[in-house]
């Protein structure tokens, strides 16, 4: 009886680990998906209306939730704060569910916003949007392959462990 319980628990644990890893892939893909959406909104709002960053963020986060929205809210607060501390921005970026190289891109993306004139900003955004689109596609592909694989692997491994224990 005890063996069945232990086996069952190990199966659940392995499955949860698999789900956890799959979720990290999913969160990363979702974050990049929303970042890509934000790039499109940013591009249109700057190109057509020349809206300031904070206005665009305000419109984008309205009625939305999630890690990227929280990240944007944090960035907006940073912009509005009197003290511009690079560490605060680094911490914000580090909290994102992205890989190290993607975080570097995110930091560069933030650094590229609002510091140059209109024409250059539009050009930079075009380049950044293409980059984010590429990152999103890679992350979505990895979620579908690796993420789901980890989920299935956790489930099957748990099952095998349970059978062995029982």
């Amino acid at each position: 009886m005890v063996r069945i319980w232990i086996g069952g628990l190990l199966w659940v644990a392995c499955t949860l680990v698999g789900i956890g890893i799959a979720r990290s892939y999913k969160n990363r893909a979702k974050f990049l998906h929303e970042w890509n959406e934000f790039c499109i909104v940013l591009n249109n709002s700057i190109k057509n209306l020349k809206l300031p960053q904070s206005k665009i963020i305000e419109k984008f986060v309205m009625d939305k939730s999630g890690q990227f929205v929280d990240f944007l809210k944090g960035y907006d607060e940073y912009l509005k704060s009197q003290i511009k501390d690079n560490k605060a921005l680094d911490n914000l970026v580090d909290k994102s569910p992205l890989l190290k190289r993607e975080r570097k891109h995110l930091r560069e993306f933030l650094d590229s916003l609002g510091k140059v004139d209109y024409n250059l900003q539009v050009d930079i955004l075009k380049y950044q949007s293409q980059l984010v689109e590429h990152l999103k596609q890679v992350a979505e592909k990895e979620y579908k392959t690796n993420g789901m694989l980890w989920y299935k692997l956790g489930f099957v491994l748990g099952l095998v462990v349970m059978i062995l224990v029982v």
Partner: protein, 283 residues
């Protein structure tokens, strides 16, 4: 509002010396002392008994903060030498120009800024009673910094509240939303063309909004004079401002003949917030 655009170090220094409400201008130049103005008198900002010297970083910080971290949104105003904050504070900028085919494309390496804080001065209307009672096109004349825009705003509100449809051409966004001034200060019958170049605004809104009066700040260039001549020909009254030291000099200058013929009243500003002579051409 100033606390939002000034680095806290500068803001706190000014705050420790003066009442912020009295300050109407702050001039910040790279590697030079910061100077501020109270009722037209300039003072040097001091820190620990010595002049506070502004750095390039502080100037860049102000530009970035004033533009809400969106320099691209201030592209056109910056080409005209200013930035307008969302609170309506106008910041004049001066630096190195990037010129292409005789056209200013951008201003880089900004080394001087002039922050002007709008004040809601109430003018005594006794000298303006005639203008307000029997309105005709009015030109407000004075050197810079005497309160032309404030008087324009005052007249716009009075005329608008008396039921006249006023079209306010606020291309530099400083008439309708400056400092402690909000849209209630420009009257209930005022339509505002905000941030639209005047040559375009005159052309389109005169037809679409059918105003009784068109108000605009700081006449500059032949194109605008042409537009004013057209307005007056259409039967629309105009109220505007122009930089000049006296009405006499303006009227005698043959280059402004066409402009002067359009206006009935000429108002001189004697001192900050103080109306001088009011000339009526029909008297």
């Amino acid at each position: 509002m100033l606390e939002k655009i000034l680095p806290s170090r500068i803001f706190n220094e000014i705050l420790s010396c003066e009442n912020m409400d009295k300050i109407c201008e702050i001039r910040i130049r790279k590697d030079k002392p910061i100077i501020y103005s109270i009722s037209g008198k300039y003072k040097i900002l001091e820190r620990g008994g010595q002049a506070y010297i502004a750095s390039q970083d502080e100037i860049d910080w102000i530009i970035l903060t004033a533009s809400e971290h969106s320099i691209y949104a201030q592209d056109e105003p910056m080409k005209q030498g200013y930035i307008c904050t969302k609170d309506g504070i106008r910041i004049g900028i001066c630096g190195q120009g990037v010129v292409e085919k005789d056209k200013l494309c951008a201003v880089k390496n900004i080394s001087s800024i002039c922050i002007r804080i709008g004040k809601n001065i109430v003018f005594s209307s006794s000298k303006l009673d005639k203008i307000l009672g029997d309105f005709g096109s009015t030109l407000i004349c004075s050197p810079p910094g005497m309160g032309k825009t404030t008087l324009l705003r005052f007249l716009v509100k009075k005329l608008s509240d008396s039921g006249k449809n006023v079209l306010l051409l606020d291309d530099r966004e400083e008439v309708s939303s400056v400092g402690d001034i909000n849209e209630n200060c420009i009257g209930m019958c005022t339509d505002i063309a905000l941030g639209i170049p005047k040559n375009i605004a005159y052309k389109y809104f005169l037809r679409s909004m059918r105003p009784d009066i068109v108000a605009s700040d700081e006449i500059f260039g032949d194109e605008e004079i042409d537009a004013i001549v057209d307005c007056v020909r259409c039967g629309v009254k105009v109220i505007s401002t122009v930089h000049c030291d006296s009405v006499d000099r303006l009227v005698k200058d043959t280059r402004y003949d066409r402009l002067c013929r359009c206006f009935r009243y000429f108002v001189e500003i004697e001192d900050i917030g103080k109306i001088g002579k009011v000339f009526d051409k029909e008297m």
